[in-house]
Amino acid sequence: MRLLKSTDEEIRARLDERQYREAFELLMPQYQDKVFRLAYSILGNKALAEETTQDIFIRVWKALAGYRGQASISTWIYTIARNTCLTAIRSNAARSMQFEDDKLRATASSEHTIDWEYLLSQLPEKYRQVLVLFYMENKSYDEVAKQLDLPIGTVKTYLHRARKDLAAAVTESRMTKGRT
């Protein structure tokens, strides 16, 4: 007999008993960072990702009574998250969606450093999402595949192309700077 339930099982049990608030209070700490990272990998902007993560959880709360358990809790939440991000992209279409990151910008201050934000912005969107999420999720193919709803093989292919393109761009940039 299993004595310890996983958090997802706990959440499902609360939902079965219609204890929605309790279920939501278990779900928030379990998924807030993962959902934020997923939103950031799609939106490429921290402030917008924060804002959208809030919207995602408000949608989750509103839809909680309608969760019928066909998909796992995580699959259900990630689907809401991706759809909310797509809505955010549409409503922020006028705003520049170039990839932005404070830590990457800080490293680009000197003349001989690489403009990583620019290089990431040059990658095809699907490669960049997989790449950023891969590093955020401690290099777990499985987690990236689950969050983006992609087969693991596709994740590996996108990651391969993204890292290869980036390394080629870095090599090119170093060689150009070496010549000047």
Partner: protein, 135 residues
Amino acid sequence: MTCPEFVDLLVDYRELDDKQRQAVDSHLSSCAGCLVFHGALIEVDSTLTAAFTGLEASATLPQGVMTQTPIRPPSFVPMLLDLTGSVAVLTVAMSVLDVFVSGLPLNIPTYWAATALFVVSAIVVGYRSYADLKN
């Protein structure tokens, strides 16, 4: 093997078996171009690891969400729609069955009622699917 082929293996280094790794290592010791690419790949990994690993949502996020989600339970509308849809589908089925089982001649009001119920159930089920899609 050519340099572009070694580059592909280099990118997937952690997935290679021992034999492939030895081949890549031996190529790197004699090819300046691939060595530069290898350095760039290390730089990509270390920069992105430093920038993204362990990124967390802001500590104020839960508070922000909780203040915008009222304590009352979420809407029962989806469940109500499910119930209405099921009842409508059942009603249509029963009225159609009634026509065939009792062998009644064509009865215009019965068909009007069945059509109306069919439209209502289609709208309800359609709306439910749309709500699912939106979520």
